[in-house]
């Protein structure tokens, strides 16, 4: 197959949110690691299995060779969990509108560029990833440890995710009706006391200090009227308008679309 000369541009614009979006989406950019939550703690928060237990399987390992012959199977390298026959499990992040580092739509774009073997779904305030169990655990750890996660304004919530558009509470945490995490004033950090579906944990899992407001505003991917207005970024607006025009016209009179 001939190599294409196309070079991905990821996201237009010159403003801070546009640059951050580009940085998050571009897989060649290494994201800053802010914390190191132990893998066992991540597994506890996900709540799919007990740390140290075996992975449940839904089919025999691929190396046993019971799969039918298929050119696509030969072409695509399976991810680790698929090789072992793991079941599909999920992790879901909720992002507050109050300057959380990443937003669901950008999450989707970032995941598609950075991870293989995922199925992701975007909603207004949350983003789910479905993946083979051992792979989803690795991805969850990466996303909790890196700069896309703020301990106060990003939540790990499998159900009852409401809170992303609500004011923060007195401690500066995003509202959670099930209170999966709480502010530990003594240590000055956030700790999870329940897993992502609200089942209490044996002991709290600390995830670290929330990032300062200044840092959040420098790392935001969010265009806001009280921050960087999207209308201030001419290239972003031009691109959005183009997509909007093409979507509208192509559904209505595609023969009318004439672009140079």
């Amino acid at each position: 197959m001939a190599k294409t000369k196309y070079k991905a541009q990821f996201y237009p614009g010159v403003t801070v949110p546009a640059k951050n979006r580009r940085r998050f989406i571009d897989p060649s950019q290494k994201l800053e690691k802010l914390r190191d939550v132990p893998m066992d703690d991540v597994v506890k928060i996900l709540g799919h299995r007990t740390p140290g237990s075996d992975y449940a399987t839904i089919h025999p390992p691929l190396e046993e060779g019971v799969e039918p012959d298929c050119p696509v199977r030969a072409l695509v390298e399976p991810i680790e969990g698929a090789k072992k026959g793991d079941r599909i499990r999920y992790v879901q992040f909720t992002d507050s509108v109050y300057w959380c580092p990443i937003i669901p739509y950008v999450r989707a774009q970032m995941y598609m560029w950075r991870f293989r073997g995922i199925d992701t779904g975007t909603l207004s305030g949350r983003q789910i990833i479905e993946m083979r169990e051992r792979d989803v655990e690795k991805v969850a750890k990466e996303l909790i440890d890196n700069e896309t996660f703020d301990t106060a304004r990003t939540g790990i919530r499998g159900a009852t995710v409401h809170g992303h558009g609500v004011r923060l509470d007195q401690d500066g945490l995003m509202f959670d009706a099930w209170q999966r995490y709480r502010w530990n004033a003594k240590k000055g950090e956030v700790e999870y006391v329940k897993d992502q579906v609200g089942v209490p944990l044996d002991k709290p899992v600390p995830v670290g200090k929330p990032m300062p407001e200044k840092w959040l505003k420098e790392h935001t991917t969010m265009f806001r009227a009280d921050g960087v207005d999207m209308r201030d970024d001419e290239e972003v607006m031009r691109q959005n308008l183009r997509i909007h025009t093409l979507r509208t016209k192509c559904g209505f009179k595609p023969f009318d679309v004439k672009e140079e």
């Binding site: 709540g47 809170g163 923060l168 007195q170 009706a177 609200g198 089942v199």
Partner: protein
């Protein structure tokens, strides 16, 4: 929950809109101080619902135990706070008393709330029963 009752004229309310959602302790202190403000007729709180039990997911039926859903004592009366308070409506018994009440409410808020807030005068909560209230059997 207060019983819906009709008023002939909708009375003015002062809306307190804090920058953050309040903890139960702050709500309790604030309500007790607002209760002492002159010409206050009724105080209504509004906010995010805090369920007692989980209603979805694998933990359905399990307790939530949210620290902000608890019994609070307001003016000597114990009541269960079931929301994380985000807005407070202070009803004043006459339009003429609103300017002074507004000053007093502002003083109380400055004293109790450790963050910004805004105050507005208007009518925010319902002042006569709605069709739903009749359907729910709250009004005879």
């Amino acid at each position: 929950m207060s019983k819906p009752a009709s008023e002939e004229v909708p009375l003015p309310e002062i809306q307190i809109f804090p920058e953050r959602l309040l903890h139960a302790e702050t709500t309790e202190t604030l309500l007790n101080k607002l209760h002492k403000v002159k010409n206050v007729r009724k105080i209504t709180v509004q906010g995010e619902e805090l369920p007692e039990i989980m209603r979805s997911g694998p933990g359905t039926g399990g307790p939530v135990d949210h620290p902000n859903r608890k019994l609070i004592n307001v003016a000597g009366e114990e009541m269960e706070l079931r929301v994380q308070v985000g807005r407070i409506f202070v009803e004043i018994c006459d339009l003429d008393f609103v300017p002074q009440a507004l000053k007093d409410v502002e003083e109380v808020c400055k004293e109790v709330l450790p963050f910004n807030f805004t105050l507005e005068v208007g009518r925010y909560s319902k002042f006569k029963p709605t069709v739903s209230d009749y359907k729910k059997g709250l009004v005879k």
